[in-house]
Symmetry: C2
Subunit: 87 residues, 2 copies
C-alpha cells in the first residue's frame, strides 16, 4: 500500500502498472464491501475512459491515508456520496 | 495553475497554503459556473473536515489536467456526479 506515485496509483486492490510495461488499465480489481463511510477523508470518482471502461470510485481513509476502491453500484456507496453532497 | 504539489494542491481558485506558514484551510475560494461536465477526467469530493467546514468538489479536466472547483449545491454538478455513478 502506498500513495500516488508520479501519477500512477499503487494501492490495495489496484493493479501495479509501472515497471512491468503493461498497458494502463483500470485502477481497481476488487472493491471494499464493508461500510466505511464515516472514515472517508476524500472520494475520487473516475468516469469511464479509454484506459478503463468502468466508473471507478476510490476513497482515501482519514487516519491511514489508505486508498480503497468502492463499488459504484452499491447503494451504501451512493448514499455516502449523497451525504457528502448534502452537507 | 499547477498540479498536486506534495499533497498540497495549488490550482486556480485554491488557496496556496505551503510556504506562507498559514493554517491549512479550505481548498476552494471560487467555483466554476460553466457546465464542464463532459471535459471531466476525475472528480474529488472532500467532506467537511477540521481544516475546512465546507464540502468541496474539485474536478480535474481531461486535456489540460487543470483542477477546477465546482459548486457542491449547483444542480448541474449533482447531475454530473449522478451521471458518473450511473455509468
Amino acid at each position: 500500500l502506498s500513495k500516488i506515485n508520479n501519477g500512477v496509483m499503487t494501492v490495495t486492490g489496484l493493479y501495479a502498472l509501472v515497471g512491468i510495461g503493461m498497458e494502463p488499465r483500470c485502477r481497481c480489481i476488487k472493491t471494499e464491501s464493508r461500510r466505511i463511510g464515516s472514515y472517508i477523508q476524500k472520494v475520487e470518482l473516475f468516469p469511464p475512459s479509454p484506459q478503463c471502461e468502468d466508473t471507478e470510485i476510490i476513497a482515501t481513509m482519514k487516519r491511514s491515508g489508505r486508498e480503497i476502491c468502492l463499488e459504484p453500484t452499491a447503494p451504501w456507496v451512493k448514499k455516502v456520496i449523497e451525504k457528502i453532497l448534502a452537507k
